[in-house]
Amino acid sequence: MNPSREHILNKIRALRQDVIEAPAIPEFDVAEDLISTFKISSAANKGEVIDREAFVALL
């Protein structure tokens, strides 16, 4: 095992003992925009023509 890896993780784990309940990740809708962005980027990577206006509108 990498000693620095264990050193870092153990330090963080020791701090976690004080945390009673970790805050949750909130639900949000804004990521939908990015998922669409990734779909467009992915399409572009495959050589498909994308609608520039639609892409810019997402940003």
Binding site: N2, S4, L9, L15, P23, A24, I25, D33, L34, V56
Partner: protein
């Protein structure tokens, strides 16, 4: 020299100081305009803040998840507990690849580790490929701003530097001409480098990929031409899921430069055939900061620099006055955690106006943390200093009504009679930039007694 001394030096050139102030305010203004174009801006900030809260509370799990997925993708993962170990890991990778010259895109983390100096001492030529970073590298200076490294230099100064280093026409400070000269110069370096080094803006735990954001495409150029890519990442740069980039990328560009999106948001997931990707995960005091309840929020920082652009002190004192890798308000809450003695003046380099907190895309309570650091520093410093003695003396006077009345009468008389050289002596630092108010002939209490009807 401490911050006030360096700031005073910066302000000696009044014209330059005014230009610096106005230039950064221009960037701040752009940020305001573009952030208002999306109605969910405040929702984005709140969401980003909560995602980061979640990350900081589960950091060990996300790091392990990131490592597992990165390894599965064929990325080699290294862990460094401090800057020394980080630099050694990078040098070992270079030596294993018989590499004597690297190209590097902007990475504040490597500035933090003083990697350039370390590699150069060990016979490796390091070329910073971000244009601003290359300019300050020619001057052997560090960046003065984390996003705009050469913001303290005017184009005429850049022209002189390029004339000296790249043999451009003397006096030609046309930005297109200078940029083209830099492109030609850097192109040779890109083509020759076997190893390219980048920072990391976001590491995605669920996929083991990482994202590097640049406006010049220099990270991509370096990485795609080199056989080996070394990416250096602070452990706090983890985000849980790829979809969270939808929050952070939109906040980052708008907050940093007032753009709707950074020109290049490059995702690195696995090495191409015959190539290598290494990622170095660095602690270097971050776990200590995580353990400081009042200050751990500072680890939410995405290094956009918005707090610098808005800060009246940063704009009027320049990045170098802070004497730390990360200057400005965020640097003033990060740096004391690294070296309290060296950076003890930084939390006082603030008006506590709260503008930094207002613009922070991840809602770090920067001005409150600055105030907290002031208290920590006052406690840590020796109790015998001029300010604490003055406060003790004042406490003695204010707590005894007779002493307060007597002191007031004496000072009203004495200040009228004492010569200017004494009332404004070097011991009176308050009077350096201020004039005493006109002294009344009587106290308010006496005036009230006479005038109450």
């Amino acid at each position: 020299m401490n911050h006030p001394e360096k700031a005073a030096e910066f302000l000696e050139d009044k014209e330059n100081a005014k230009w610096h102030d106005e230039t950064l305010w221009f960037v701040r203004d752009k940020r305001d305009v573009v952030s208002k174009t999306i109605p969910e801006w405040e929702e984005l900030r709140e969401t980003a803040s909560q995602i980061k809260n979640n990350v900081l509370s589960n950091l060990d799990e996300y790091l392990v998840e990131f490592e597992r997925n990165a390894l599965a993708n064929g990325i080699k993962v290294h862990w460094a507990k401090d800057a020394e170990e980080h630099n050694k890991i990078v040098l070992d990778i270079l030596q294993q690849n018989d590499c004597k010259a690297i190209v590097k895109s902007k990475s504040i983390l490597t500035e933090e580790c003083h990697l350039n100096q370390y590699l150069e001492k060990n016979g490796v030529d390091v070329v910073d490929t971000d244009l601003g970073e290359r300019i300050v590298q020619f001057l052997n200076q560090p960046p003065s701003h984390i996003v705009l490294p050469a913001i303290h230099l005017k184009k005429a100064q850049v022209s002189d530097i390029f004339h000296d280093k790249l043999n451009t026409e003397k006096g030609n400070h046309d930005p297109s001409y200078l940029t083209n000269a830099a492109r030609l110069h850097l192109r040779e370096k890109f083509l020759a480098a076997k190893v390219a080094l980048t920072g990391v803006n976001f590491g995605v735990a669920e996929t083991g990929e990482f994202v590097v954001c640049t406006n010049e495409g220099n990270a991509d150029m370096g990485v795609h031409l080199a056989d080996v890519h070394v990416a250096c990442m602070g452990i706090e740069k983890i985000i849980p899921k790829r979809e969270h980039l939808g929050v952070f990328l939109r906040l980052l560009a708008r907050s940093a430069t007032g753009q709707s999106v950074t020109n290049y948001n490059s995702h690195f997931r696995s090495p191409a055939k015959g190539k290598e990707i290494h990622i170095v995960l660095l602690d270097n005091g971050r776990t200590e900061q995580l353990g400081r309840e009042k200050f751990k929020n500072s680890l939410k920082c995405i290094r956009c620099g918005a707090c610098m652009n808005t800060c009246p002190i940063y704009r009027r004192s320049g990045g170098y006055s802070y004497g730390s890798v990360v200057p400005g308000p965020i640097g003033s809450i990060l740096s004391p955690g690294i070296d309290l003695k060296k950076h003890s003046t930084l939390p006082f380099a603030s008006t506590l106006c709260g503008s930094c907190t207002d613009v922070c895309p991840v809602k770090i309570n920067i001005h409150e943390q600055l105030y907290e650091w002031r208290q920590e520093i006052t406690k840590a410093q020796s109790s015998i200093n001029a300010k604490s003695l003055a406060m003790k003396f004042a406490n003695g006077i204010f707590s005894v009504p007779f002493a307060y009345k007597l002191g007031g009468n004496m000072m009203r008389g004495a200040l009228k009679l004492l010569p200017h050289s004494i009332t404004y002596s070097k011991l009176n630092t308050w009077g350096k930039e201020r004039d005493l108010p006109e002294l009344p002939n009587e106290s308010f209490k006496d005036w009230y007694k006479k005038n109450k009807s």
